[in-house]
Symmetry: C2
């Protein structure tokens, strides 16, 4: 094997650190994981990652180590904020680089997952891909010509904060009517709770989760069906806006809630078609992401592997 | 002068054809114009353009002829629809090429104006630029790395058909709540007419035009001020969405209504700031386009001149 044809990809989450040795074509050669222990702080976590990198290094030559972090990063590799780790302005690229004798690259977790889908997943071979992750928040990313689009602020791809309902519910970011405020897991749960409080009948009642709501909708529950239709409707508006502006080859949808599959995809596609200018809809594939839990480490490795 | 360092740029409008000989750096060396005579059809118009190109050709060698048309074009140079010319599926690139012994390139008029602003206007030297034209319709375009972004459908950049008010007024495209349905010149006039019908007082009354409305707003008229605030508010939502997704270096605003300057720019900027995720707003310049009537021929020439 030529030196530099593989790389270490690290997926740093709030609960686990996952790391893998990955080839340029996206094959996982070896992998390992450890609990994150956020309380050990950036230095402790960097020590763990350096040890995992040594475990995975088979001596055949590595192109570098890439890492996806659950937060906002700068071009210089500073983590501006990572709520799940309680990090603020941590120069994590430098902290890692001090421990690792390989080129280090760092980016946001949604960006690296999008890069993975664009190079080795549903968008393989495409030019332009937009990525949405549906979960506790709505993450987003834009990949142009096989590269993450960071834009002037280095923070492009904030699809979750697209305004899709002026004057709508307040988002965690403080603005009104963001996609995230209308379609995240907690938003979905709030909609069903409100219906229950208003006396609507439903097969779900306690222990409300987005998964339970999607399952009940798939089973014909009317309150949950209505909720999933509404959430899919707003997601479709945001996706239609992406198509009207960028006409991407692929829009990939990942994240926990995307596991609902067709229950959610059907209203998404219906609304997208309704809000897209004639002649554009059929040129974009709107599909579920396929790499699942591997997207994070794969995309992180691609940060240091050229196409 | 080296052969190929200048080109002919043609701005085909519903009333006039404007053509100019333009250098790669964007200097207009010579220009001419004629009435369009739409009734002469694509062949008659192509004859006129070929004559204008001969007039402008000083024999020093030209890189080609580029043309911007007021309609939807395909990658193959077919004009799918150009309402002001009553054209449907006209292979106009080929019709021109049959008459002109230079490479011919064709694109949509908003796209070529955006290219002009990105290479020689307000976006000179920038990486990513979004362009809006405010007029009878709302045109849009996206320039990435100095090139027009056409996307999978060849029709990207339809910013005017971004949905900014779900269930809002019907747009000419048939969809509800498009930016164009809420902020075009005719939409602005409808808003004031509605206010007048409801008995609101205003200094404008007959001969309503977007220009008269903006002037009255600048003069303190309350109905017109309210209207301009509302229009600027929706434009700001669309611009904020562009920033959240693409974080462009520059958003340039052109077209007839943009002549209202600060009267309109103030509410646009206020709404954009309100709807943009924290940390992104200050990285994008939101500015009036500067090339005015020359943008069409300049950008058309840039279609055949490399950077």
């Amino acid at each position: 094997m030529n030196p530099g044809s593989s790389a270490i990809g690290v997926d740093l989450g709030g609960t686990f650190i996952k790391a893998a040795r990955i080839t340029a074509s996206g094959t996982i050669e070896a992998q390992t994981r450890r609990p994150t222990h956020p309380e050990s702080g950036p230095e402790g976590i960097a020590d763990s990652i350096a040890e995992m990198a040594r475990e995975l290094n088979d001596g055949s030559g590595l192109a570098g180590l890439g890492i996806g972090v659950p937060g906002v990063t700068t071009a210089e590799g500073v983590v501006v904020i990572a709520p799940n780790l309680d990090w603020h302005h941590i120069p994590f690229k430098q902290i890692l680089q001090n421990r690792i004798d390989l080129p280090v690259a760092i980016d946001n977790d949604a960006n690296v997952a999008a890069l993975a889908e664009a190079r080795a997943g549903v968008g393989k071979g495409c030019n332009t891909l937009c990525f949405l992750t549906l979960g506790t928040g709505i993450g987003g990313a834009v990949v142009l010509n096989g590269q993450i689009h960071h834009g002037a602020s280095h923070s492009a791809g904030e699809i979750g904060h697209m305004c899709v309902l002026p004057g709508g519910p307040q988002c965690g970011c403080g603005n009104l009517g963001c996609l995230e405020a209308l379609t995240s897991g907690p938003a979905m749960v709030r909609l069903v709770q409100k219906g229950l409080e208003e006396g609507q009948k439903s097969t779900v009642s306690s222990d409300l989760t987005p998964e339970a709501i999607c399952n009940a909708a798939a089973g014909g529950d009317s309150l949950c069906t209505e909720t999933v239709q509404q959430v899919g409707g707003y997601l479709g508006i945001a996706i239609a806006n992406l198509i009207n502006v960028l006409s991407p080859d692929v829009i990939a949808i990942g994240g926990g809630i995307s596991a609902a599959g067709n229950t959610l995809m059907h209203p998404i596609l219906e609304s997208t078609r309704e809000h897209t200018l004639e002649g554009l809809f059929e040129h974009t594939q709107i599909v579920l992401a396929t790499l699942g839990n591997d997207a994070g480490s794969l995309g992180a490795a691609f940060l240091v592997l050229s196409i």
